[in-house]
Homo-oligomer: 191 residues x 2
């Protein structure tokens, strides 16, 4: 059953993705969810705490995508890694091609907030770690060259994806995402 | 001679890069430059106009970097393209590893402002066009494979760079930038 906290976090993710952090007032969150202010402060200490918990909720979805893509033994490892980004691309499409909330909040807040910078960098590290495990398997199966470092290749893939997601957001167009995946996977594969 | 308008735009670029758009008040800009409010409105219609002009000023610097890197006939074309990003990386370092203002404002504002989304996408297109011309030369000299599309390769390079710049900003560390350049130029080169 969806709780008030769930509803607030869902609305928070939507608003933060579209408008960013500073442009979203508490009032907009309360209005979008029909929640009185007291309920908000029952669940969240303040707006920062709310956004940090929205990031945690966002990461739950990311890990669901990672589970769905990486844990499919029917697919070879590189295809599984690629599948994760295709799932993400579909998610972005459903949301109106607004890209990735981590990239948005990361850019907006990391110049002034060590809390958000550290939090979001850790999210990227967690995603990269899961991708890296699958890339290690790809290497063991000969899909990835033995002289590549799976950890570095995972970080690189994720970082390039985030840049493509920015461009996709600017243009409301998934093509930069597709082009980036095409380039990376054509080049990552061992000959 | 530096004019009041120059001083306001310089301060604007610094503040927008660090804090983003919504977190920068007009008061902070006036205070940083010791400018009375009337002078600000003599040069700029409002905060949006100010930020758009700060982006133009930022792009002047980007084009200076492109001129310095791409117009050096002593270097082969791919090395010239790479040099542009090395110049950008040095600029980021001098500014405290805060990454790229276009990426920051692009992420923050493009979900709600078509004006900023269109403006910043056009900036990226302009940069990609100049890189593309040099990549075409690289292709003519056999440095880039004939089956690559220089325009696509330029867009891709720029987009991946922006993602690496986000990560570099989160960690105040140039390494994601270096890793990205290493990956791209090792793979872009014709064998």
């Amino acid at each position: 059953m969806e709780t008030i906290r769930d509803r607030l976090l869902e609305a928070g993710m939507t608003l933060l993705l579209q408008r960013g952090y500073n442009a979203v007032g508490l009032q907009a969150v309360l209005q979008a969810t029909g929640t009185p202010k007291g309920s908000f402060y029952h669940h969240f200490r303040n707006k920062e705490d709310f956004a940090l918990q929205a990031i945690d909720r966002y990461m739950e979805q990311v890990h669901e995508g990672l589970d769905a893509a990486l844990c499919d033994p029917a697919q070879p490892p590189l295809a599984r890694v690629r599948r994760f980004f295709e799932i993400s691309r579909e998610k972005y499409r459903e949301e109106g091609h607004l890209g990735c909330m981590l990239g948005g909040l990361g850019q907006e807040l990391s110049g002034v907030s060590e809390v958000f910078a550290g939090k979001i960098d850790q999210c990227f590290r967690d995603i990269a770690e899961r991708l890296s495990a699958c890339l290690t398997e790809a290497q063991q199966r000969g899909e990835l060259a033995v002289d590549e470092d799976p950890q570095e290749m995972a970080e690189l893939l994720l970082n390039c994806w985030e840049g493509a997601a920015l461009r996709s957001r600017l243009r409301r167009d998934p093509r930069p995402l597709d082009d980036m995946l095409e380039f990376y996977f054509a080049r990552a594969r061992a000959d």
